[in-house]
């Protein structure tokens, strides 16, 4: 991928996709607070043989929804996984340049610390095969939270935030995998916000869902941006236009 560039939401228009647009730097948008800034970032797979991300310069603004769009295989997911260092798990990965999280290079942060601040929602809903309650408390428990009352409160708040509480309040102890696809995806979002992250990364979160479930998730994203910064990969231009404040267009 070469130079992604960003638009204010209002100017997302297929006709305007050209390199003349201003790069999304804080100078251009002085009101915005930068949370992630990517500087001259390169990413390679297969021990440097596959150059997946090329010269990325981009900033992510706090409490805004940034959408990544672009053709398949251009590296949207790759960049997204760089933000929470999930790419570190892939054998033979190599990176150059840096990504700063609130001014600190993410490579100097502990992955556990980083990932508890940068949550991720995957393309396929992937709840754990355990109860809804345990799904949501998984992250906090891993951080050592044992207090039953706080856990209960986290479960209640997270389910409420994603609008799932009313739907599942009688089956909190049922398996998370017994929910419908859309409910599962909202459970995954709830599981993610149970960690009270700063940023939520979403990789095509609605591509496995029907239109109604998709609308629910979009509504949820609009609501969540009051509290969280959201980066969302999508193939759907309309979706990007509907939900995002900024859009980064990726080219092959």
């Amino acid at each position: 991928m070469k130079n992604p560039f960003k638009f204010k939401k209002e100017i997302v228009n297929a006709d305007l996709f050209n390199n003349d647009l201003p790069l999304p730097h804080s100078e251009e948008y002085p009101d915005e607070e930068v949370i992630f800034s990517v500087k001259d970032f390169q990413f390679y797979y297969d021990n440097g043989e596959k150059h997946a991300l090329k010269d990325i310069n981009l900033e992510i603004f706090k409490k805004k929804v940034t959408a990544f769009i672009g053709p398949s295989g251009c590296g949207k997911s790759t960049l997204l996984r760089c933000f929470n260092r999930m790419n570190d798990l892939i054998d033979g990965n190599k990176k150059e340049g840096e990504i700063l999280y609130k001014g600190t290079p993410i490579d100097t942060l502990n992955t556990i610390q980083l990932r508890s601040k940068v949550g991720m929602v995957f393309q396929q809903p992937n709840p754990f095969p355990m109860s809804i309650y345990n799904n949501i408390t998984y992250g906090p428990k891993c951080q050592g939270l044992r207090n039953k009352k706080s856990l209960d409160k986290i479960v209640y708040d997270s389910l409420n935030d994603v609008g799932l509480y009313e739907e599942v309040k009688d089956q909190i102890s049922h398996s998370g995998t017994s929910l419908s696809g859309g409910q599962q995806q909202r459970l995954c979002i709830a599981r993610c916000i149970a960690m009270s992250p700063d940023i939520i990364l979403m990789d095509e979160p609605t591509s496995a869902l029907d239109p109604i479930a998709t609308l629910k998730i979009e509504e949820l994203i609009r609501k969540l941006k009051e509290k969280y910064t959201i980066i969302i990969v999508t193939h759907n231009m309309q979706q990007a236009a509907r939900i995002s404040d900024y859009t980064a267009f990726f080219m092959l």
Binding site: M120, Y138, C142, R191
Partner: protein, 422 residues
């Protein structure tokens, strides 16, 4: 022209082929059916032979008794005088299958020893029976005859002062008539059954327990390394193929290792000499490790990557992911590996002959040689008079365990598949 010819030929060929194929298919179908029938028949013959030969010998006495026989010789005390008027045996309850000696107030019954020979048990004794006064011939102490000992022979002194002996083989009537002539018991010999498998059975259970204790943690650890941590590089591939290969090594070679390494090693730590349950369990651990690693690794690999990513993305460490996601979701593989291990441990004989021992002991021991059921079979067949019947009786036990184990594997897989599908 040529083209046309070819076409005609082709359709002819196809037509001929159809007939031909039918014929060939018939032969293939028929022969595969025959072969599988043959396999089934042979299997049934083997099982049938074992069941037929061993079933009669598989008695509660066989399972609960020791291999070695212990005996005790009893007599009436030296100053014993039989006085008819002293005794009142009216408390003796009468049963149809029991023979009674009215003179001595005892009830005798036929029984079988572990070779299916007829023996006589002392099953009832009147409160007032002089048999309560019997003392050991060696040290003169009183002895309560346990119910698992049978009476092999009895020598009595008659009124005339002569001695008369009645043997178990000659029947109860003979024994009772001899007792009727007696004024004192000079020597009565009681024996435990002997030839039983209780020690080997208990040792087998211990061996399974310790083998699992040693091999499961190691095997699961190895499986986690290969299935979770290991990068897909040459070293991993080499390790994996080594694991594969070592599951094909004949177990007797592991037995050799057990004898030459584990016996001195355990000996130097605990002061034992020769094989014992621990050296046996360590050797079995070597034999089982490749299988356990493979089985658990397969199961770990079926865990969706997305589940592991989700856990890591939530800020869980590798350790937490292993204990909360990987292990709970590969529990079926772990159970299957344990069941496979139990089956192999029960069936193993060659390696254990070296690493555990061949001497059938009177009680299971952690410090000296023991035998498992399979080694027990080996032992009783290796002697001068192979005891095929008892070997078959043990085989029936092993068969049953194996059937139960494979059924439980099926059950586990069924339950977990259903759980996954939900």
């Amino acid at each position: 022209m040529e083209k046309k010819n070819k076409k005609i030929n082709l359709s002819y060929l196809i037509e001929r082929n159809i007939k031909n194929r039918k014929y060939k298919d018939g032969i293939t179908n028929g022969s595969t059916f025959l072969f599988s029938l043959l396999c089934v028949v042979i299997l049934f013959l083997v099982i049938g032979y074992v069941l037929f030969t061993g079933a009669n010998y598989l008695t509660p006495g066989f399972i609960t008794s020791n291999y070695s026989q212990s005996s005790v010789a009893l007599r009436t005390p030296k100053d014993f005088v039989y006085n008819e008027n002293d005794y009142d045996f009216s408390d003796l309850e009468r049963f149809d299958d029991t023979y009674y000696s009215e003179k001595w107030g005892i009830g005798l019954q036929y029984g079988k020893d572990n070779n299916q020979n007829q023996v006589i048990y002392l099953v009832q004794m009147s409160e007032n029976s002089p048999f309560h006064e019997l003392v050991r011939r060696d040290d003169g102490t009183n002895f309560n005859i346990p119910s698992d000992m049978y009476l092999s022979y009895i020598t009595v002194q008659t009124e005339l002062g002569t001695y008369k002996t009645a043997f178990s083989e000659d029947g109860i009537e003979n024994m009772i008539s001899t007792l009727d002539e007696a004024v004192s018991i000079y020597d009565s010999n009681f024996l435990t059954l002997g030839g039983g498998i209780s020690t080997s059975l208990i040792t087998t259970c211990y061996l399974i327990l310790f083998t699992l204790i040693f091999s499961l943690p190691l095997g699961i650890g190895g499986a986690i390394y290969l299935g979770y941590y290991a990068k897909d590089n040459r070293i991993t591939r080499i390790i994996r193929s080594l694991v594969d290969m070592s599951s094909g090594i004949p177990s007797i070679i592991f037995g050799l290792v057990g004898a030459t390494i584990f016996i001195p090693f355990v000996g130097s730590m605990t002061g034992t000499t020769g094989g014992n349950i621990f050296t046996g369990a360590l050797t079995m651990t070597l034999i089982l490790l490749p299988t356990i690693v493979k089985t658990v690794e397969e199961s770990i690999k079926t865990i969706p990557k997305s589940m592991i990513s989700a856990s890591l993305a939530l800020g869980a460490s590798n350790t937490e992911t292993i204990f909360k996601i990987v292990l709970p979701n590969s529990i079926d593989g772990i159970l299957n590996a344990a069941i496979l291990g139990i089956g192999r441990t029960i069936g193993e004989s060659a390696a254990l002959v070296f690493a555990l021992g061949t001497f059938i002991t009177a009680a299971p021991s952690f410090t000296s040689g023991n035998t498992t059921l399979a080694v027990h079979i080996w032992y009783i067949l290796a002697g001068e008079y192979p005891a095929y019947e008892q070997a078959c009786a043990i085989s029936i036990i092993i068969f049953c365990v194996v059937v139960v184990l494979s059924l439980s594997t099926k059950l586990i897989n069924y339950l977990f598949r259903r759980k996954r599908e939900r």
